[in-house]
């Protein structure tokens, strides 16, 4: 029992005291390290644990017309988001949400995809929930942990389809865009402009998103929405004022719906300085359908529609310029001094012209007889222009055409404008047909009447006529602001321009567009019929008014309209509306003259495949812009 002597015990107790002291010093040291030295790190970690940022969407800037009328605005909307700690629990929550509102498998896949991309952010369920859906979900909030209902400004286009191709639409930014940093400052889930002005001026319109903080539990349930941390308020986007005249745009739409329902085509109206007054393309679509995600069904319908409603026919479709191009040929002749207003051609029009073993017809079988330049434009005589084309020579046509801007885009401030097709030199024919595969006079004949390997966008033709209407300089058309460059001087003297104007006045007064003549306004212009190997020809009319002091230049094309004289009255009415305003008396077409129906003939029908009319499909919104079918409350 020696070892339990109190002396021995005291000795051992002293050792034990030391052991205890060391153990507690070690513990205190460990806590000192955690709580004092590393405190900041763990404090941040704890914040990160419990605080989740929820982005606040800024309202996009307004888009206004030239008079300040609203083209695109914002209305209050509701976004429904779900916060979940894991994919499994999100699935479980979606199951329960499915008992409250109808959820298709598509929607569920979308939400899960969004969750996987940003698991710490509330995953968007629907960007544009109806009030009914929101109230039903709010009612069942206890069943849906992590439900975040966000009041968000929602884009709204009051005129919908009327302005669809001008403004475009918005959609969620895609992964590819984020990778390429196409929209600087955009983050996952940011709404960006996908086409039209919304895309072009996205950086102005978008604004800066804010953020608010919510507190969540370990289970990812929303615990507190208020007072977690000071929110950063969103900065709304800046408005843009466009050059569009909304009244004219609406009028063009109503006219087209009344007179040419079901006809595809486009119309563009410019001021002499290049401001776009109206830009219209049919068939159209409702850009409001894209807000909050378009339904997959609607999206498939839009994409699969054989009439391509998403294409902007003013800038994204190419047509053979046909007879309106005769003004370019005439301008080249005048510039080179090869013709004057009263020059006649050696061969009068007898309904066609023999070239070697081929007979090139004029559209008028009985022939026009002997005409001077003005008469040839007025009557759109092919035979006259065949000879002028030969006189110019193909090299001059291609060279001058390139100088006039027929090889370039108009440069309008809209994305995805198509390049026109216009060969730079005859080397092009050598390459395509082989050096012996084409004949020089044949090409000259074709180009002289705007056929051949020459297809132009409507906006590019309107730009050329804007030069004719003004002082001979084509400027870059614009909707908001003109970018520098893109000017083309036609190189015509004042007298030359006057000659062409006289001819174009004659077209409407007594020529091929006489049917559209107005008693109170002088309009100048040129009809055209583009050969279409795939069906009825396309009709052109490009004109301006008032003829002597032009204030507006309008170009229009109607697909399968057979000839340009059908398009002319329509354009003339639009010009009249712009010049006289809505209060003007109803238009009075002269109508007394016999209506000539010109049909431009081509020596060889140039095949215009569907692809050559509509080459590039328009910029399609990525998958993320559409949500499958809108939510409806379950009954």
């Amino acid at each position: 029992m020696n070892q339990f002597h109190s002396y021995r015990l005291r000795e051992r107790a002293r050792v034990v005291q030391w052991v205890l002291a060391v153990a507690f010093v070690v513990l205190v040291g460990a806590f000192f390290r955690l709580q004092v030295i590393e405190h900041e790190r763990f404090r941040l970690r704890a914040e990160h644990n419990r605080v989740r940022p929820v982005p606040l969407t800024p309202p996009r800037g307004l888009i206004l017309d030239r008079h300040g009328r609203v083209i695109a605005e914002n209305v209050p909307g509701y976004a429904v988001k779900l916060l979940a700690p894991s994919e499994d629990s999100l699935r479980a929550v979606l199951l329960r949400v499915g008992q409250i509102v109808e959820l298709t498998p598509d929607i569920i896949d979308q939400v899960l995809k969004r969750f996987r991309r940003a698991p710490h952010m509330p995953a968007l369920l629907v960007g544009d929930a109806s009030f009914e859906v929101v109230s039903r979900l709010e009612e069942h909030r206890p069943l849906v942990p992590g439900l975040v209902i966000e009041s968000e400004p929602k884009r709204y286009y009051p005129l919908g389809p009327v302005v669809a191709h001008v403004i475009g639409f918005v959609g969620e930014v895609s992964d590819q865009d984020l990778e390429r940093d196409r929209f600087p400052g955009a983050r996952m889930g940011t709404l960006v402009g996908r086409t039209g002005l919304e895309a072009q001026y996205d950086n102005v319109l978008r604004g800066r998103p804010g953020v608010r903080y919510i507190e969540v539990s370990a289970a990812g349930q929303l615990v507190r929405e208020e007072g977690v941390a000071a929110p950063v308020l969103p900065v709304s986007g800046k408005p843009i004022r466009t050059t569009i005249d909304l009244d004219l745009q609406e009028y063009v739409d109503s006219l087209w719906q009344a007179d040419a329902r079901g006809v595809r085509g486009g119309l563009v109206a410019l001021t002499p300085t290049g401001q776009v007054l109206a830009l219209y393309s049919v068939p159209s679509f409702d850009p409001n359908a894209f807000i909050g995600g378009i339904s997959a069904q609607e999206w498939r319908a839009l994409r699969g529609d054989s009439s391509y409603p998403l294409i902007n026919r003013v800038i994204q479709a190419r047509y053979p310029p046909a007879s309106p191009f005769k003004l370019a040929i005439a301008a080249m002749g005048l510039k080179k001094g090869l013709v004057a207003y009263n020059t006649t051609m050696p061969q009068p029009c007898r309904g066609g012209l023999q070239l070697g073993n081929r007979f090139f017809r004029c559209w008028k079988r009985e022939g026009h007889g002997r005409l001077n330049l003005i008469g040839a434009i007025e009557r759109s005589c092919d035979v006259y222009f065949y000879q002028l084309g030969v006189r110019l020579g193909i090299n001059a046509i291609l060279g001058e055409g390139t100088a006039m801007g027929f090889r370039e885009r108009s440069g309008i401030d809209l994305s995805n404008e198509l390049n026109p097709i216009f060969p730079p030199s005859t080397a092009y024919f050598d390459r395509v047909y082989g050096p012996r595969g084409w004949s020089r006079p044949g090409a000259e004949f074709n180009f002289a009447i705007g056929q051949g390997e020459n297809t132009q966008t409507l906006i590019n033709m309107a730009k050329f006529y804007q030069a004719l209407a003004g002082n001979g300089t084509a400027v870059r058309p614009y909707l908001v602001a003109a970018a520098p460059g893109g000017q083309h001087n036609l190189g015509l003297s004042r007298e030359d321009l006057a000659v062409l104007r006289r001819a174009m006045i004659a077209v409407v007064a007594t020529g091929t567009a006489a049917g559209s003549r107005q008693s109170d306004i002088a309009v100048a212009g040129k009809t055209g019929t583009a050969q279409n190997a795939h069906g009825d020809d396309h009709g052109w009319f490009v004109g301006f008014g008032p003829a002597e002091e032009p204030e507006i230049i309008v170009g229009a094309i109607m697909e399968f309209a057979e000839h340009g004289s059908t398009v002319a009255p329509y354009v003339v009415k639009a010009i009249r509306r712009y010049l006289l305003g809505p209060q003007a008396a109803p238009s009075q077409t002269a109508g007394l003259l016999a209506l000539e129906a010109p049909q431009d003939s081509a020596p060889r029908a140039v095949s215009i495949s569907r692809d050559s009319v509509v080459v590039a499909p328009p910029a399609l919104p990525p998958e993320s812009t559409y949500a499958p079918a809108p939510l409806v409350p379950r009954r």
């Binding site: 029992m1 070892q3 339990f4 109190s6 002396y7 021995r8 015990l9 005291r10 051992r12 107790a13 034990v16 005291q17 205890l20 002291a21 153990a23 507690f24 070690v26 513990l27 205190v28 460990a30 806590f31 000192f32 955690l34 709580q35 004092v36 590393e38 405190h39 790190r41 763990f42 404090r43 970690r45 704890a46 644990n49 419990r50 507190e215 969540v216 539990s217 370990a218 289970a219 349930q221 615990v223 507190r224």
Partner: protein, 413 residues
């Protein structure tokens, strides 16, 4: 109190720890999301009353009786541990283990907790009986068996945390009985080998060091050889044993070394515990206001991980206060053990100290990531009926030891 002759420092420290513990347990139940911990403090309070009754009863029992029936208590404890292995159920935060003895659907308690006291009695009786302090490895075989059998049985439940307590009690009581520290080191050396075997270099260095220690301490040749061979064997079987461990046990050990290996699953406890403690800072977020606790980021916040609640809400200062109270409590127990009237009482009192110390060091250590994470309650703080009852029984024993020595007129010589 003075009239009762109860040990005042022990009463004071116990009362302070108990109040502190209940306050933190109450806070652990104040969460923003529904939690098991919500009403735990009320049930704990009920257990405190039961515990007080138990302590009063045990205080009235003479230590001679305990010395006499120690083998019976020990035998009953072993039988219960075997029974629980056969018919045990899981419950509460230890739902995955077989640690509860349930009869007719009523959970009676966790035999492992009572086995701890039984082992304390049995070891005390044995060590007093041998009369000379263990001097050789052969002398410690029986104590090792006494603690080893329940250790293995509890390990089978599986409950590594409680099992470790038997080891703590064994080492503490061997030391208090006068065993040389060098012998304890040799005794523990195979366990160290087992850990170091995962790093060949560390193990090699250890084996060289062990050889040097054996030469210096000069145990019997045979024993030295046995120790050395045991170390080599441990080094050899470490990897196979590792492979036979359950994946959750492996990941617990791995995440102890680096919690970020698997932050959402195995490392979750370790990380969230550290985050809660670390975010407390000097003064904490204020009583009842710990966000990590409120939002249920802390797992098992009312049982094994109650200490981080304290750390988060009361900060480093609160931690210091709690640790100081525990330190004081241990010094009081040490003093009682030292002044005991007889070796048996002294050993029991020291065994109780070893029991509590293992609990406190392992529990607090694991919340700060100093120790691997095992399910082990913190005395006075963690919610748990059986352990609280055992705590009070042990306190009753300590009070009795103090009372005996006071009554016998203990004098410092």
């Amino acid at each position: 109190m003075r009239t009762l002759g109860l040990d005042r420092p022990l009463m004071v420290t116990t009362a302070l720890l108990l109040v502190f513990g209940l306050a933190v347990l109450f806070s652990a139940g104040q969460t923003d999301v529904p939690s098991l911990a919500a009403g735990a403090w009320k049930r704990q309070l009920a257990w405190v009353l039961i515990g007080l009754g138990g302590a009063t009863l045990i205080f009235r029992v003479s230590f001679r009786l305990f010395e006499w029936i120690a083998p019976v208590l020990y035998g009953v404890a072993i039988i219960l541990l075997v029974l629980v292995l056969i018919a045990g159920t899981g419950a509460g935060t230890a739902a995955g283990t077989k640690s509860w003895l349930t009869i007719g659907g009523v959970r009676l308690g966790q035999p492992a907790e009572f086995a701890k006291l039984a082992v304390v009695f049995m070891l005390a009786r044995y060590l007093v009986g041998v009369r000379v302090p263990p001097d050789t490895l052969r002398d410690v075989v029986t104590p090792c068996l006494i603690a080893g059998v329940p250790f293995l049985l509890v390990l089978r439940q599986p409950d590594l945390g409680s099992a470790m307590v038997f080891g703590g009690i064994l080492i503490a009581m061997l030391y208090w009985a006068g065993t040389r520290p060098s012998l304890l080191v040799l005794l523990l050396s195979p366990a160290l080998s087992l850990l170091l075997a995962f790093n060949t270099w560390a193990w090699g260095v250890w084996m060289v060091l062990l050889a040097a220690l054996l030469l210096a301490w000069r145990p019997y040749l045979a024993e030295g050889v046995v120790v050395y061979v045991a170390n080599m064997a441990m080094g050899a079987i470490a990897i196979p044993i590792w492979k036979r461990l359950a994946p959750y046990q492996q990941s617990r050990l791995l995440t102890f070394l680096n919690p970020e290996v698997d932050p959402t699953a195995a490392g979750y406890h370790a990380i969230q515990s550290k985050v809660a403690i670390g975010s407390g800072g000097w003064l904490g977020n204020g009583y009842l206001n710990g966000p990590q606790k409120r939002l249920a980021f802390l797992p098992e916040q009312h049982t094994d991980f109650i200490f981080p609640v304290l750390g988060e809400e009361l900060g480093f200062v609160g931690v210091i206060v709690a640790l100081a109270l525990f330190f004081w409590f241990f010094l009081v127990l040490l003093r009682i053990a030292r002044r005991a009237t007889d070796p048996f009482s002294s050993l029991v009192a020291f065994g109780v100290l070893g029991l509590f110390f293992t609990h406190v060091f392992e529990n607090v250590g694991m919340t700060a990531n100093l120790m691997p994470i095992t399910g082990i309650p913190l005395p006075f703080f963690s919610y748990g009926g059986s352990f609280l009852l055992v705590t009070f029984l042990a306190l009753g024993l300590a009070l009795r030891v103090a009372w005996d020595s006071r009554m016998s007129g203990y004098l410092e010589i």
